[in-house]
């Protein structure tokens, strides 16, 4: 784990005097960077500092005088997602034939790629087997004639390209050590190539650039567009400020590589990717890529009345439902989260698009009345009359009175994702609890008419079906806050726990800014406002050091 002389504690700074500590650890440039960011923050926020209103400075949770930001620290060595790593190589060596990357593709699952249709989760662990396979897999790149022709006489140039920054003393030492070793020039280039492309700096998003703004920019470039900063971009940030960064973010979020990153983000977060004979699990990711490319409102992930094929052309969706609701009405979502009582589908809907787990605040999701719920979920007490705590199997009603409302929206979708108009939501007495007839799932509701109906209540509003439910969700603050949280999680490479602890006041502030920019913010709007937010930069810069 990383020791954090001030990253973790820094993130808990509750007074301006805390910034004094930065002086102790920071180089002058970093201090200057933090100072500039802080000043910008105060400048931007002074209008609503300390008002106590929602989205105000004090509502960020750090007390009345300084911001509390989210915890973002390295707790073990994690590298870029596999696809970012490979795209980075492809972007870097675009002059190589595609076959040079075949070995990487062949070993993709050991190297961390995902395919949810095969139950393979993404992994960003940099372990022994991954390192070994990575070094093996880049061999065709490192011994390609194209690389040799270009760089055999210019090792320094090669290293600058790989790291996307000016070389340091340590880099020069590496070059000297290789030059002093035995072997031909080509062999030395092979060693340099294998070492640099397998080094943590290359495979992770953190850069050793001297300038904090360059380092931060490089991190974002890696995650957003799968490459290092170009020399022009690097120069711009080296001598520039936060506004230059915003300008770069605007450019990057219009780049095709960003739309691919957006696709991967949705795949990873929704756990839908790959293809089987029956189900195209790529549909949700492709929809995200299309929405990003077209710069449409991010809300269309839940409200789009179309799906998108692999050529990014709109097509009809595959569940045969009479309506569409973005990624939800795809077999990918339905099959990927299938399960008894439709709990998996309901749970993922809330977790992914509202960042809520059950039980949630009843003022957000009013519970279904106990008398309307089937007996197994109406119970909330132990046999001896005491209340059951959540999680021990007795506090059923607490969660299921909310679960049930969301699960009801899926009552007409069978286990294979097909819409079945005649679904009843009734329990099949011959099957386990939660399974209805014809591969459908049981409703939480007692009344047979209610059980058979898709109509339900979401966030306190009556809806006729999943489409209307989606429209309610995207109008909620929870959706937009959650969208920012999820994009920060992915593009800053935060783990679940770090993301869940992002201060809600910060999320609100970002959403407010994004909506000022565009009343129906696109992913680009969210990302630009998020990643150029002073508090986000402060959090990450704390981690960078």
């Amino acid at each position: 784990m990383k020791t954090t002389p001030f990253s973790a504690s820094y993130l808990q700074i509750n007074s301006l005097s805390g910034f004094g500590r930065i002086k102790i650890y920071s180089k002058f440039g970093k201090f200057l960077f933090l100072g500039v960011v802080t000043l910008l923050f105060y400048n931007n926020c002074s209008g609503y500092k300390g008002t106590g209103e929602e989205g105000s400075f004090s509502s960020l949770g750090g007390g009345s005088e300084s911001p509390a930001v989210f915890e973002a620290k390295n707790s073990s060595v994690q590298v870029l997602p596999f696809r970012q790593r490979v795209s980075k190589l492809e972007n870097l060596f675009s002059f190589l034939p595609s076959s040079a990357f075949n070995r990487l593709r062949a070993n993709r699952f050991i190297l961390g790629d995902h395919d949810h249709s095969q139950s393979i989760n993404p992994s960003q662990t940099w372990s022994q087997s991954v390192m070994e396979k990575w070094i093996e897999s880049i061999e065709p790149i490192c011994q390609s004639s194209e690389i040799i022709n270009r760089y055999a006489g210019d090792h320094q140039g090669f290293l600058e390209v790989v790291y996307g920054r000016k070389l340091s003393y340590g880099d020069q030492e590496l070059l000297q050590e290789i030059a002093a070793g035995s072997g031909t020039q080509n062999e030395k280039l092979f060693i340099l190539c294998s070492v640099s492309l397998s080094s943590l700096e290359f495979v992770s998003e953190s850069s050793l650039a001297e300038s904090p703004l360059v380092a931060y920019g490089n991190r974002l470039a890696n995650m957003l567009v799968a490459r290092n900063l170009s020399s022009t971009e690097s120069d711009l940030l080296e001598n520039g400020n936060i506004y230059d960064l915003r300008q770069l973010l605007e450019t990057w979020t219009a780049d095709p590589s960003f739309h691919i990153s957006a696709k991967t983000m949705m795949e990873v977060q929704l756990a839908t990717s790959g293809k089987t004979n029956e189900v195209d699990f790529n549909l949700p990711g492709q929809l995200m890529q299309f929405i990003s490319r077209e710069d449409r409102s991010f809300s269309e992930v839940l409200t789009a009345d179309y799906c998108v094929d692999e050529n990014l052309e709109p097509v009809s969706c595959d569940t045969a439902s009479p309506y569409n609701a973005g990624v939800l009405t795809t077999k990918a979502f339905m099959v990927g989260h299938t399960g008894r009582f439709n709990l998996g589908r309901a749970g993922k809907l809330m977790e992914q698009f509202a960042c809520k787990n059950y039980p949630m605040d009843q003022s957000l999701q009013p519970p279904i009345k106990r008398e309307r719920i089937i007996d197994m979920f109406a119970q909330d007490q132990l046999d001896d009359g005491t209340d059951g705590a959540f999680g021990n199997g007795f506090a059923c009603y607490t969660c299921h009175s909310q679960f049930g409302a969301h699960a009801q929206l899926f009552v007409k979708f069978d286990a294979f994702g097909n819409y079945v108009d005649g679904a009843t939501g009734a329990q099949n007495p011959d099957l386990e609890a939660g399974k209805s007839f014809n591969d459908l799932f049981t409703s939480h509701l007692k009344d047979s008419n209610e059980a058979a109906s898709e109509a339900s209540q979401v966030f306190g509003r009556q809806v006729a079906n999943l489409k209307e439910a989606s429209e309610v969700i995207v109008q909620s603050d929870e959706f937009w806050n959650c969208s920012v949280q999820k994009s920060l999680q992915y593009f800053l490479n935060l783990d679940h726990s770090e993301a869940e602890h992002i201060n809600v006041g910060l999320l609100r502030d970002i959403v407010r800014k994004a909506k000022t920019r565009n009343p129906q913010p696109s992913l680009s709007d969210l990302v630009v406002e998020s990643l150029s937010h002073p508090l986000v930069m402060l959090s990450i810069e704390g981690r960078l050091q």
Binding site: N121, S129, L208, E432
Partner: protein, 508 residues
């Protein structure tokens, strides 16, 4: 024998030789001078004060979705008590009449699904009354106190996130747990590699079928302890196959030493710059050492000639026979296939540490008869075949299998929601003292769980809650002892230092 001769041995021969030497050093009447000579070879040119004895082979099986073993081993009190059998509500989920159960000694009462284990019962210990799971949803978790004592929601010095290396798409089904205690396969892998640096890294098969669930394999502060994780059968098979290794050494192999040494140097600067602590440094360096060795391997790469891990058609038929392919666990690999691969790795002495993961599908509320029967047979069928194979290979006394209900268990009731009733493990091995330890009794449809006392007999007063349970750390420490681990290391963690060894589960 000169040390150089030993160094020149093929990895397989070396391990065989080391194994023999290790056993010899344990022989109580071996002359001390000879022991020291053996240790000198075992440990290098200079013998250390403490003998680096290889732990036993270890196969860790993690079952998720709160597996229930009612139809495998019926607790004595339930086998003989006045119960109501059935598959709804508070009935005991037992299809067979009590008088049809086979009383097999050592408190074992076997339903049909358990019969296949009868020949091995002297070497199988079952303990289901450990402290309960604490996952946020119905107790589901990726850790379990029996695997990582002290795991919980609090971070602190030395207590790191358990979940970072075992990704899942939804943390709430696994628990955002912290711990300082390593999980069994990881500490075992660490000790094995420390004792014999020529050993191949251990293996974890990430077999859980659903993206939302996982099993945590956690190393704590043990540098280089992580076994290799494989997410698909084909990748695992590729990694342990000699095919394709023929021909001239590739460049990464020729220059493996320079490449890894330079990466070490470059990464050290990176880790320093981002202020990773000493453990992250040493862990990375250990991993790189392993990388160097593996890249340097050419030809068979330490594998026997023409070794193919992939199961042959005959092997597949053998392992698959009579295994109920029910539930969802087969979307990656059924447990029969995982067990076959693990056994092949162990009996061929390819690795010493294998961890497997398998799930059924999460069923709460009334559980049908077919579920009880399937979950029981999905364990008994591969377990019996593994034991047979390990006995045939002559390494049963040198092997321990631990099967955990990793995300907790269920109560005796058919309608059980998890995080109540049972939580525990099956230990099997030549050094394990067979028996069903603890008990479950009932008064009507209320069930009481009796932990074993220090002699292994169930205590008189059972409980329905989580008090008076066997501490997870005690089972963990007992497993460490069974594995012949470095016990000073095993006791070096804050949550294990006071653990008891449950002697009743071990042969003397």
């Amino acid at each position: 024998m000169k040390f150089e001769d030993f160094e020149n041995m093929a990895p397989n021969e070396r391990r065989e030789f080391l194994k023999a030497l290790s056993l010899f050093t344990l022989f109580p009447f071996a002359p001390s001078g000879l022991k020291e000579a053996c240790q000198e070879i075992l440990l290098g040119k200079k013998a250390y004060a403490q003998a680096a004895v290889l732990p036993r082979y270890f196969i860790e099986i993690n079952l998720r979705d709160q597996f229930d073993w009612t139809h495998l081993f019926v607790p004595p009190g339930i086998a003989t008590g006045n119960i109501t059998r059935g598959f709804s509500g508070d009935q005991v989920g037992l299809a067979q009449s009590q008088d049809s159960l086979v009383q097999a000694g050592n408190n074992f009462y076997l339903p049909d699904e358990g019969q296949v284990l009868r020949p091995h019962l002297d070497d199988i210990a079952v303990l289901e009354t450990c402290e309960l799971s604490v996952g946020p949803i119905h107790g589901h978790e990726g850790g379990n106190a029996t695997r990582s004592p002290g795991r919980g929601y609090n971070s602190g010095p030395g207590r790191e996130k358990m979940y970072l290396k075992d990704p899942n798409s939804k943390l709430s089904g696994n628990g955002d747990h912290y711990s300082s205690s390593p999980t069994p396969a990881n500490i075992h892998n660490y000790v094995c590699k420390k004792a014999d640096s020529s050993l191949k890294n251990g293996v974890i098969y990430k077999g859980i079928s659903r993206s939302i669930h996982t099993v945590y394999h956690y190393s704590g502060n043990l540098a280089g302890a992580d076994p290799d994780r494989y997410q698909s059968t084909s990748d695992l098979e590729k990694a342990f196959s000699t095919s394709g290794n023929a021909g001239p050494a590739p460049n990464y192999s020729r220059f493996s030493n320079q490449i890894t040494q330079l990466i070490k140097k470059v990464d050290k600067n990176y880790l320093n710059n981002f202020r990773y602590d000493g453990n992250a440094h040493s862990d990375h360096e250990k991993q790189l050492q392993g990388v160097q060795k593996r890249l340097a391997s050419t030809g068979a790469g330490g594998l026997p000639n023409n070794f193919q891990l992939a199961l042959s058609s005959a092997e597949r038929n053998h392992w698959r026979n009579d295994f109920p392919e029910m539930g969802r666990g087969g979307s990656k690999a059924w447990l029969w296939e995982q067990a076959g691969l693990a056994t092949k790795l162990i009996t061929n002495d390819i690795v010493r540490t294998v961890a497997l993961e398998f799930d059924y599908v999460d069923v709460h509320g009334d559980r049908p008869e077919k579920l009880f029967r399937a979950q029981a047979k999905q364990v008994s069928n591969p377990l019996s075949k593994m034991i047979d194979a390990l006995k045939t290979a002559g390494i049963w006394n040198e092997t321990v299998i631990a099967i955990f209900t990793t995300d907790g268990g269920r109560g005796m009731e058919a309608n059980s929601f998890g995080s109540k009733g049972k939580n525990g493990a099956i230990l099997a091995g030549g050094q394990i003292k067979g028996g069903y330890y603890g008990n479950v009794t009932n008064q009507g449809t209320k069930y009481f769980y009796h932990r074993p006392d220090d002699s292994g007999r169930p205590v008189a007063n059972g409980v329905s809650g989580n008090n008076q349970r066997v501490a997870g750390r005690d089972l963990w420490m007992t497993l460490m002892q069974a594995l012949r681990m470095d016990m000073s290391l095993a006791r070096s963690f804050p949550d294990t230092k006071d653990a008891k060894i449950l002697d009743y589960m071990l042969k003397s």
